[in-house]
């Protein structure tokens, strides 16, 4: 494992050090004492595995295409901005706009996520991005979501798992949310339905991967306690400017 001490290192130098390590053949990189450096692991390809200790800065893993990034701490805003593939595991909380316009890959957050998680999430063919939040999320979850899967586990109590205006502008993909979401917290473009057997198979797979990433032994979720949110239409604003 290649180790970098990021204490006091400017983000440009840090990212140059990372790229140097990769061109030297590093397959696993540990970055210690990260604090606020932005753009870490951006646009990187391949199967490298990063472990970050500390609080990485904004736009972590933007445009990332393949690597695995483990954050032992909290993440800030815009993690996985337009990410294409790979895995992100956040042991603490995530900031706002988690998975902004993400197109593939997976994010697992042990704690809470901020506002606008999964905004503009999209999918195409076999590339179906996944965001799993162990705790609760802020307002505008899945805003303008066009594809992919979001699961919110609502720890510790499964109450008020998501904020206001959940799914506003959603027109593709699916959300699984533990607990009830009152109608007045839903965007106009989504409806609640009950997960079917196919959904439960997907959820079971998601939950077992969540437990594996965070080494949780207990499996206590009642799949019946999840609701499913889907868009009412795949083109909610088609008539905004022109009335057909």
């Amino acid at each position: 494992m290649f180790t970098i001490n990021a204490r006091g290192v400017y983000y440009k130098e840090l990212n140059q050090m990372v790229r140097q390590a990769l061109s030297d053949g590093a397959g696993e990189i540990l970055i210690k004492n990260v604090n606020g450096q932005c753009y870490i692991a951006d646009a990187l390809r391949g199967s490298v595995r990063f472990t970050l200790e500390g609080t990485p800065g904004n736009n972590l893993a933007a445009y990332m295409d393949g690597p695995e990034v483990i954050i032992r701490g909290n993440a800030q805003d815009a993690v996985a901005n337009t990410m294409n593939s790979g895995t992100i595991v956040i042991h603490g909380d995530a900031g706002d706009t988690l998975g902004y316009a993400m197109r593939g890959g997976e994010i697992f957050v042990r704690g809470n996520a901020g506002y606008r998680a999964g905004i503009h999430l999209k999918e195409y063919g076999s590339k179906i991005p996944l965001i799993v939040v162990g705790g609760k999320t802020g307002d505008f979850l899945g805003e303008y979501m066009a594809g992919g899967i979001i699961a919110v586990l609502g720890e510790p109590d499964g109450l008020n798992s998501v904020g206001r205006w959940c799914g506003t502008g959603m027109h593709g993909g699916v959300m699984y949310i533990r607990g009830e979401v009152p109608d007045y917290h839903l965007g106009n473009e989504v409806r609640i339905c009950k997960p079917d057997a196919g959904d439960e198979a997907i959820l079971s797979g998601i939950l077992s991967r969540f437990r594996r990433h965070f080494k949780l032994s207990v499996a206590t979720y009642d799949l019946q306690s999840f609701i499913k949110l889907v868009p009412k239409s795949n083109r909610p604003y088609g008539n905004v400017y022109v009335d057909f």
Binding site: Y11, N35, G36, C38, G54, T55, G57, N58, N74, Q76, D77, D93, G95, D96, G114, Y115, G138, D139, F140, G163, Y184
Partner: protein, 377 residues
């Protein structure tokens, strides 16, 4: 020709604030380190700080900080002062050479008291009298700007990156129990010394990340209460709004927050009846003081700090606690830079107040008498 997109300036303003709730004083070094970590959020066209508890030897005087275009403006202003004030002490604010801070104006401070004859009729509080004088000087276009006018506090600001401004003003040599800071990335207006944050009036100070689309609506309403907006930056109105609502009209800060970042009507409709009535009234009476647009702000006062986001949280804000310290900043890393292991870290919701009041302080809760009614400072 250099085209747009050939290089990128990753910026978006930075704010940071620290308060020790039991009033323990600290030097300016911590807040400089915190704001410096977010260097790339600003672009060198504005930086500044507010510090509370720094002038205990003049705690009863208004500490006026001024920018002058030249010695003529200073002499004219001092003549004006001699009409209205008893000046206990005055002099240039100490600065040190910093290679990145250029074209500084003359920067002076005056510790003053209003002459008793102006207050003797009892019609005016000393605070109201000071607000009038500040508005008058800043409105005269005489090359003088008051950028700080509170007691036992001061603003220090200018054109440059915040950490360089902090070094320039020698903030490591001051000790205060509340500090706020701003790194500026000006939008819509040029960066100039008076336009840097914080914006202040009496002991209010505001640092702000965002943009106020309602600036002119807010400004017109404030002008009816004799506030003059002369500093060419939208943030100025926030300082005056809180002065009007909390000091003059005696609203509690949570109602003032519900004026500037109100709940949506649909949410007000779901409130219990008495709360609903209060929030409806606040929105209706002060509809012109709603701050429209994205913002995260830290409001400083001698009683503590408050942090607030716009109601749909279009700008970042993180808070943390460690013992008696409360920290707020645009980024969590800016807090961890000076407090690596906080007891608690959280991201406040849009429109949710983060309170950092000093022990035993209350910001004019609803039981207090507003100055408009009891006429005293």
């Amino acid at each position: 020709m250099l085209r747009e997109g050939d290089f990128r300036i990753p910026s978006g303003c930075a704010i940071s604030g620290i308060v020790h709730r039991k009033g323990r004083a600290m030097s300016g070094e911590s807040i400089i380190r915190s704001i410096a970590l977010m260097h790339d959020r600003s672009n060198g066209l504005g930086g500044g700080f507010a510090a509370y508890g720094i002038y205990p030897e003049f705690r009863d005087c208004f500490a006026l900080h001024l920018f002058f275009d030249g010695q003529g403006a200073r002499k004219d202003t001092e003549e004006y002062f001699s009409r209205y004030f008893v000046t206990e002490m005055s002099g240039p604010i100490p600065t040190r050479k910093n290679a990145f801070i250029k074209n500084a104006p003359l920067i002076w401070r005056y510790f003053v008291r209003p002459k008793p004859e102006f207050l003797s009729a009892g019609e005016k509080s000393a605070n109201d009298f000071m607000v009038e004088r500040v508005m008058e000087i800043n409105g005269m276009a005489g090359g003088a700007h008051v950028f700080s006018s509170g007691k036992n506090m001061g603003a220090f600001k200018g054109v440059g990156y915040a950490e360089d401004i902090g070094d320039f003003y020698r903030l490591d040599e001051y000790r205060g129990h509340i500090w706020t800071a701003h790194g500026r990335f000006p939008t819509n207006t040029p960066g100039w010394w008076g336009g840097a944050h914080p914006f202040t009036l009496l002991d209010w100070s505001v640092v702000h990340n965002g943009e106020i689309s309602s600036y002119d609506a807010n400004r017109r309403f404030l002008e009816m209460y004799d506030y003059q907006c002369t500093l060419q930056t939208d943030t100025e109105v926030i300082a005056y709004i809180f002065d009007l609502l909390v000091r003059r009209h005696g609203l509690s800060v949570d109602i003032a927050a519900a004026v500037v970042a109100p709940p949506f009507w649909s949410e007000i409709d779901r409130m219990p009846p008495d709360k609903k009535e209060m929030y409806r009234a606040a929105r209706i009476v002060y509809s012109s003081l709603l701050i429209n647009g994205p913002f995260s702000i830290i409001l400083g006062s001698s009683r503590g700090i408050l942090a607030l986001n716009d109601r749909i949280k279009l700008r970042p804000l993180t808070a943390a606690e460690k013992g008696d310290f409360l920290y707020v900043a645009s980024e969590e890393s800016a807090i961890r830079e000076i407090c690596p292991q906080p007891d608690r870290v959280w991201m406040p919701r849009g429109g949710e107040l983060v309170w950092g009041l000093l022990a035993g302080s209350a910001l004019a809760d609803s039981g207090a008498c507003p100055e408009e009614i009891n006429g005293t400072a």
